[in-house]
């Protein structure tokens, strides 16, 4: 238990450091958002509006850096992330609207990819040197293809030519979002193609990683001992070989979970899928600082959170890491 508490303490400190850096970076950068906004609109906003804008963005008060910092934390803990320029809505609302889509689609795709890839990798590694090894180059080919190209080809084949799946969007726009079966099936239908391209492009890494670990672990003495004990093939494969081979996979999985939030920019642009990546892209294009800052914060927290989860899973899976150092 102490192991978990200590890890938790470590992550709290990391979180504090990340948020603090997120607070200071915009303040160290030259220029201020208001003049940037006025400059961007090239005279369409009168300089007289600068004061009003400052008030809107909460920059009007003459506060010391320390007070700003305290206020920043205060607002942050209340879920206040400022107002987006581009969408004229609270950043928190914009992100809250985007995050379920990204986590839902990319999260599920990543979990499918990890599970499938790890299973296939275990199988190939267990029977190394057989025909199964020929699966490797095929899957590696798909991961070597640039993702945007793979996605465009998928759209051109499955949406444009065959017409099986829609080319863009996340659900049928004629439907009203609700928890009805009709809406959910529409979401699944729209999400299939993007999810498929993510799985196909990322599965190779899981297969390869697991296969190689299986080959290494299978030659360990304890696997031979398991065989010598006469345990079933299943137990030897999953209980002894795969159980140890999966450990490095878990840490890669956690890292990839963290990057789900920010790392799927290309997919969301190609498929016009309104997730976090799509908003980040538009925020950068529109120099929407509050939204960018909010999204970065969310990504930071997501990576941290994924690391916590990985650490705990690792602690559960591998007793050696629980040892008090």
């Amino acid at each position: 238990m102490r192991f978990f508490l200590r890890r938790l303490g470590f992550y709290l400190i990391t979180f504090w450091a990340a948020v603090t850096i997120n607070f200071f970076i915009p303040r160290i950068m030259p220029g201020d958002p208001v003049s940037a906004l006025i400059a961007k609109n090239q005279g369409r906003i009168s300089p007289d509006a600068a004061e009003a804008l400052r008030t809107l963005f909460g920059l009007d008060e003459n506060m010391s850096l320390w007070d700003q910092y305290v206020q920043y934390w205060n607002l942050l803990l209340h879920g206040e992330l400022g107002t987006s320029f581009a969408y004229s809505a609270p950043v928190a609302d914009v992100i809250a609207g985007a995050i379920p889509w990204t986590i839902g689609l990319v999260g599920i795709a990543t979990i499918i990819s990890f599970t499938l890839g790890t299973l296939i990798g275990s199988g190939i590694g267990w029977r190394r040197g057989t025909w199964a090894d020929s699966l490797l180059p095929i899957s590696t080919f798909f991961s070597a293809v640039p993702y945007f190209w793979l996605a465009l080809i998928a759209i051109s084949v499955f949406s444009v030519t065959l017409g099986w799946f829609p080319a863009s969007g996340s659900y049928d726009r004629s439907l009203v979002p609700s928890f009805s079966w009709e809406f959910i099936s529409s979401v699944i239908y729209y999400g299939t193609l993007p999810a498929l391209t993510i799985v196909i492009s990322s599965i190779s890494g899981w297969i390869l990683g697991m296969r190689n670990m299986m080959v290494t672990v299978s030659s360990e003495d304890y696997v031979t001992v398991a065989q010598a004990k006469g345990v079933s093939e299943r137990t030897a494969l999953f209980g002894y070989s795969a159980r140890n081979a999966i450990l490095p996979q878990v840490s890669s999985f956690a890292l990839s979970l963290g990057f789900i939030v920010g790392g799927t920019l290309v997919m969301e642009i190609v498929f016009s899928y309104q997730g976090i990546g799509y908003y980040l892209f538009t925020a950068v294009a529109a120099k929407d600082y509050p939204l960018m800052q909010g999204i970065f914060l969310v990504i930071t927290v997501a990576v941290l959170f994924a690391n916590i989860v990985a650490d705990f899973i690792y602690g559960v899976l591998d007793p050696r890491t629980r040892q008090e150092g």
């Binding site: 001992v225 004990k229 140890n244 007793p319």
Partner: protein
């Protein structure tokens, strides 16, 4: 362990009429291509019931390969190319382990023959508690046993090897090397096997632990009556624990005799050289002589005796014919011992048209 003089249980040769394991003409190749390396060539070995058989030889002579092949655990690219491994169960029924199908083999493993491996450090699955690992083996063969019963038996087994049963809930990394090897021994004894193969079980341990483990094995053998094949390169250790010693060289057995006979009156030049490569603790001072040269490349063996190049007693015939195991050409020797040396086999020498030479004094001590 450096030599101590032979102590322990009295030397006895198990009667050949009650074998528990007979390895006959076992051959193993490494490599699937056209030019495999013949690592074991026609090895025959018989283990009597209740006997401790020591298998000694240099690194790479095929000791471990023999153990892995006899249990069909040989990792690729090892391939058993011929021979039989006959196991006789308690009711006297013989089965050839090499001809069992996967299901039968799995059922036979651990139940009939258990193994303790070389690496005490790596033989235990690092992510499971040791109790569970012992229970795993029990439950694989007795599916009706509940996990609780299996763990209770695991506790008894740990007690048997002198480890406190509350260690059941320990992970392997929480145990010392000696404790881990004891756990492995306990695990091997879980199903009361008749044959225990120990592949250098003490190699990774310090000498104090070595002695404890060896004494423990001897004591357990006396209590439980299993047979042991004890593989090591440490001949001095074998003289203490083994009833009989088989010396291996380059994938063949070159001498097979009672432990004390091997120690006091070796008949093969290689056995003799091995015994002279470590100092005795008692007895007169003698010069230590290593064995010149190095073991032959198994992929480049000619037709002659593989030891000929390093042998002080080699003569012309040695490069022409590979000797087979015969009764030593020394009057008064134990009739059950055998040696593969042309000095003891005048008939084979004459068969290739050479003149036999007498057995040198070093190889005919009495």
């Amino acid at each position: 362990m450096t030599i101590a003089s032979p102590i322990g249980h009295p030397q006895r040769l198990a009667p050949a009429s009650d074998p528990v394991l007979e390895i006959k003409n076992l051959s193993v190749d490494y490599g699937y291509d056209d030019d495999p390396v013949h690592v074991l060539r026609q090895v025959s070995l018989t283990l009597g019931r209740g006997e401790v058989l020591g298998l000694a030889g240099e690194s790479g002579c095929g000791k471990s390969t023999l153990a892995y092949a006899a249990t069909r655990l040989l990792p690729p690219p090892g391939l058993i190319t011929g021979g039989e491994v006959l196991f006789t169960d308690r009711s006297g029924v013989k089965t050839d382990l090499l001809r069992l199908n996967d299901t039968q083999l799995r059922a036979s493993r651990w139940q009939d023959m258990a193994i303790v491996f070389q690496g005490a450090m790596n033989s235990l699955n690092p992510v499971y508690r040791i109790g569970r690992q012992i229970a795993d083996g029990i439950r694989a063969h007795e599916p009706k046993t509940s996990q609780k019963e299996a763990l209770e038996r695991a506790a008894e087994l740990l007690d048997l090897v002198g480890i406190s049963p509350d260690r059941l809930r320990s992970y392997p990394h929480e145990l010392s090397g000696g404790m881990r090897q004891r756990v492995m021994i306990a695990m091997a004894l879980a199903l009361d096997p008749q044959v225990l193969i120990m592949d250098e079980p003490t190699t990774a341990l310090d000498v104090v632990m070595q002695r404890q483990i060896v004494e423990q094995i001897a004591e357990l053998r006396d209590r439980l009556g299993f047979s042991v094949i004890f593989i090591t390169h440490d001949v001095s250790l074998l003289i203490e624990i083994a009833d009989r010693i088989a010396i291996m060289y380059a994938g063949e057995i070159v001498e097979d005799a009672a432990a004390l006979d091997v120690y006091n009156k070796p008949r093969h030049p290689y056995s003799s050289a091995l015994l002279h490569s470590f100092p005795p603790l008692r007895g007169p001072r003698r010069e230590l002589i290593g064995i010149p040269g190095s073991p032959p490349d198994l992929s480049r063996l000619g037709g002659g005796c593989p030891f000929a190049d390093r042998c002080a007693f080699a003569f012309d015939a040695c490069s022409k014919v590979n000797p087979e195991l015969v009764f030593p050409n020394v009057p008064g020797d134990d009739p059950r011992r055998s040696v593969a040396c042309l000095r003891h086999d005048p008939a084979a020498v004459r068969a290739v048209g050479e003149v036999p030479l007498p057995v040198p004094a070093e190889l005919s001590l009495s």
